[in-house]
Symmetry: C2
DNA sequence: GATGATTACCTAGACATTCTAAATACATAG
DNA sequence: CTATGTATTTAGAATGTCTAGGTAATCATC
């Protein structure tokens, strides 16, 4: 099982989806994605944190400082209403793209 | 039916797949993709031509100048053996990614 | 109480890919 | 002779991800 290449543009969708479940801090988001993907998707911190800042700036997520169960300070992110809309839009785009790709890849067989 | 956002990294796969069918010149590749995707995927020229140069440099495709049925000079690209391998690899990566994404998007329902 | 592993965040700079926006040139239709 | 379609080329901007560092606190272990 080789490591997967993440495609540019999918990280936002993945993060929004994770936060739709429950509020999480950055480190926990990375862990969560690793688990759900069965170790196949490894999000680098240098990708994740800047992505979180961008999304907060766009109003899709909000954050507050909190203490984790491990007793450490962490910035916990949660979805906003705009974020829920964005999630729906990106999910729809993703599904449309996979449809088109299936046509393209399958065509001629 | 809105226009789809192409994800960074999928263009090579799409082009390789198109050339697996038959040799084509750049303009025809763009048309072909538009048709197969039912007008949903519009590849810009500024994306396509640089992508073709990159792929030729990597040895995945080869080219020769030829005359089209419309009587014009055109650079016709075709898959190399390495290109066929690359196509298989990228197709496998794409399929693995859609599997993982399906898990992520579906999880918790 | 030193050491190392884990948790948690931050950031600069490199890199790759796609897009916008232009230009060139030839063919054909009107 | 003008507009439209065919066909290629390229510069530069925009975007997003990664590499590769850094800080700091907690916990287990020796």
């Amino acid at each position: 099982m080789t490591k997967l290449n993440l495609l540019q543009g999918t990280l936002d969708l993945i993060v929004l989806r994770a936060l739709a479940e429950q509020p999480l801090h950055g480190y926990a988001i990375a862990q969560h994605i690793r688990e759900v993907s069965q170790q196949r998707l490894l999000i680098e911190e240098g990708s994740l944190y800047p992505a979180l800042y961008r999304m907060e700036k766009k109003g899709w997520i909000g954050s507050r400082w909190d203490t984790t169960d491990k007793g450490r300070r962490a910035r916990v992110y949660s979805l906003t209403a705009a974020g829920r809309e964005q999630l729906a839009a990106e999910r729809a785009n993703w599904e449309a793209l996979t449809d088109v790709m299936a046509r393209i890849l399958g065509q001629g067989e």
